[in-house]
Amino acid sequence: MRFAMKTYRTFHTALKALLRNPLRAMLTTLGIVIGVAAVIAMMEIGAGSSAAIRKSIAGMGANVLNIRPGAASSGGVTFGSGSTTSLTPQDNEAIMRECPAVGDAAPMVRTRTQVIHGSRNWVPTFIFGTTPAYLQVQNWTVAAGTPFSDRDVANGNKVCLLGQTLVRELFQGEDPIGKEVRIKNVAFRVQGVLGRKGANMMGMDQDDIILAPWTTIKYRVTGSVLTEANQSASSTSSSVNTLSNIYPGEQPSLYPERSAVQAADNPMPVRFANIDYILATARSAKDIPAAIQQITAVLRERHHLRPDEPDDFSVRDMTQMMTALSSTTLMMTNLLLAVAMISLVVGGVGIMNIMLVSVTERTREIGLRMAVGARAEDILRQFIVEAVVLCLVGGALGILLGHGGSQLVRWFLHWPVETSPAAIAAAVLVSAGVGMIFGFYPAWKASRLDPIEALRYE
């Protein structure tokens, strides 16, 4: 109570002393006002840009984790990554369900074959069978139409989304929505068109893509045909006309081939549905290591691997992009910090300068206060508190000014801006700190005055 009273009095006295000369107090604190305003504005604009950069890098797939099946090997010969069929759609669901650090996960089924519309055909770089989560994973938007749904996936509906390149090649200005394209003689209804994405980091055209439910691709497209790229070449003619065999040394087939009618009548039972790989996103760049760990744990458990057995899958992240991302953010932060420090030091020197003038000017007042019973520490506290109050008021004005400035920038220049509570808290702390550091010397000088000399001072 007594302490609170005393603190209140000290602040009250300091405020009154400052208000005795409001113009000077304002000019003194201008350095801090401008410094803090600059810091806040820079922080907010910087955080906005940084978030925008982060978002665009994330759009390039920086958070994406690539989960691939492991390598099969036989007699010491490995067949490279992805050659086993150990990943299932249920693995994907388990990852979504049990890994808190994972945002989205999409099962992926790949194929490469011809797509036909009317009289035109094209072999897209990517034909992916997946779930709607793929669009979230890749940060991809649908430019026209609607994405396919989870129900389409469950039912194996013949719907698809086309990339811009495919639209250009197949439809030539025609509106593709609602039209049909054929993949391996399976007719898919075009439900939407993907937004433009351009080339990926390897220079491959990402818009040369067709997306469909993975069940449809798996069971209706790749399940019904082998892996020929050319639809016409694989049809009946090759099985009938052996002269079209390009490689005569080929091993004769040991079993009679099933005719198309037989295949349609008795579809091959699918033992279990494996998928080619899983794309997952970590919730944020920070969560990537946690996400990898959780995915590994979940998959090892699901695949019944003993502790000494190696993983039958691999999880890869985009390390290169992550490095670029974090170094960009770090550089931005450091740059802003340097600017902040310089402007606040300049402001602090201004405060110290004026406080020294003020101590000299108020020598008689200090003498008087000492004569009526102020101890050296009372004088010291009073002047430090004055400097701190000055800085805090300046800091508060600076926060308002800086925030207002960044909002203006957002309104008129449409720059991305992000309010940063951390920056505001830091500004308050730093301005109080500046007041204390730069107010100390003048206050110390004041407290060391001899009351007799001070009272006699003209």
Binding site: R2, F3, M5, K6, Y8, R9, T10, H12, T13, K16, R20, N21, R364, E365, G367, L368, R369, M370, A371, V372, G373, A374, R375, A376, E377, D378, P451, I452, L455
Partner: protein
């Protein structure tokens, strides 16, 4: 009669470069509680130095100073600040009011340093009572620049009395005032002395001002003399007790 101030062989010298200038050369005096004393002397006689020592602003080089029976000469700076706040009131020649601060806040200022037990409201009430006592009840909100010299000095007196000290030290309190306001201020000192029993020591070089006091103490060349010294400076008091450092 109860003594409030007792000085024994107070010595004080100032150092100016290599030369040591003795200012007080063994001052001994006793002042009883409730006295109104004038401390007289020409400039350079050491009366200001003596006043500083009496006001606990300075410490003697040697000698004993008892205020209210307590030894003062060996207190630390912070302890002396406490004594100044509790037991002493100061009135200065140049008033020393805080500029651009209301009379009320000026009077309440000393409470900032000790009266932590008083609430803001109590402090202001007390300051207001003091101002009423010096006859400035209607001018509490005025800043010093809007008060006359006499009024300013009365604000200063109210400030000196706020902690109800037993001793009031006035350093040339009428030095900046005309004769009429001087008379008012001095009459106020007399009234305070008579009605409240406050001991008052006034430093002055003006015999007319000293006339208001019950007793005048003359100081000449750092020593107490019985009366105002003659032209020949015949103030021979024998061997000074101070040892030159």
């Amino acid at each position: 009669m109860q003594t409030i101030i007792e000085l024994q062989d107070i010595c004080k010298a100032y150092r100016m470069g290599d030369i040591t200038v003795p200012v007080l050369k063994g001052v001994s005096l006793t002042i009883a509680r409730g006295e109104l004393v004038a401390l007289m002397g020409t400039s350079g006689s050491g009366k200001s130095t003596l006043m500083n020592i009496l006001g606990c602003l300075d410490r003697p080089d040697s000698g004993v100073y008892r205020l209210d029976g307590e030894e003062m000469s060996r207190l630390s700076a912070d302890q002396r600040a406490m004594v100044r706040n509790r037991k002493l009131g100061f009135v200065f020649q140049s008033f020393n009011l805080l500029p651009r601060t209301s009379a009320l806040d000026n009077v309440a200022m000393p409470l900032t340093y000790t009266a932590g037990h008083l609430s803001e409201r109590e402090a202001r009430q007390r300051a207001a009572r003091m101002l009423e006592r010096v006859g400035l009840g209607e001018r509490m909100g005025h800043e010093p620049s809007r008060l006359s010299g006499g009024q300013q000095q009365r604000v200063a007196i109210a400030r000196a009395l706020i902690n109800q000290p037993p001793l009031l030290l006035a350093d040339e309190p009428t030095g900046n005032l005309d004769s009429q306001t001087s008379a008012e201020v001095l009459a106020m000192f007399q009234a305070l002395n008579r009605e409240e029993g406050i001991t008052i020591i006034m430093v002055t070089h003006d015999p007319h001002v000293a006339g208001y006091a019950q007793r005048a103490i003359h100081i000449h060349d750092g020593q107490i003399v019985d009366r105002a010294p003659g032209r020949d400076g015949s103030a021979d008091r024998g061997q000074a007790p101070c040892v030159s450092p």
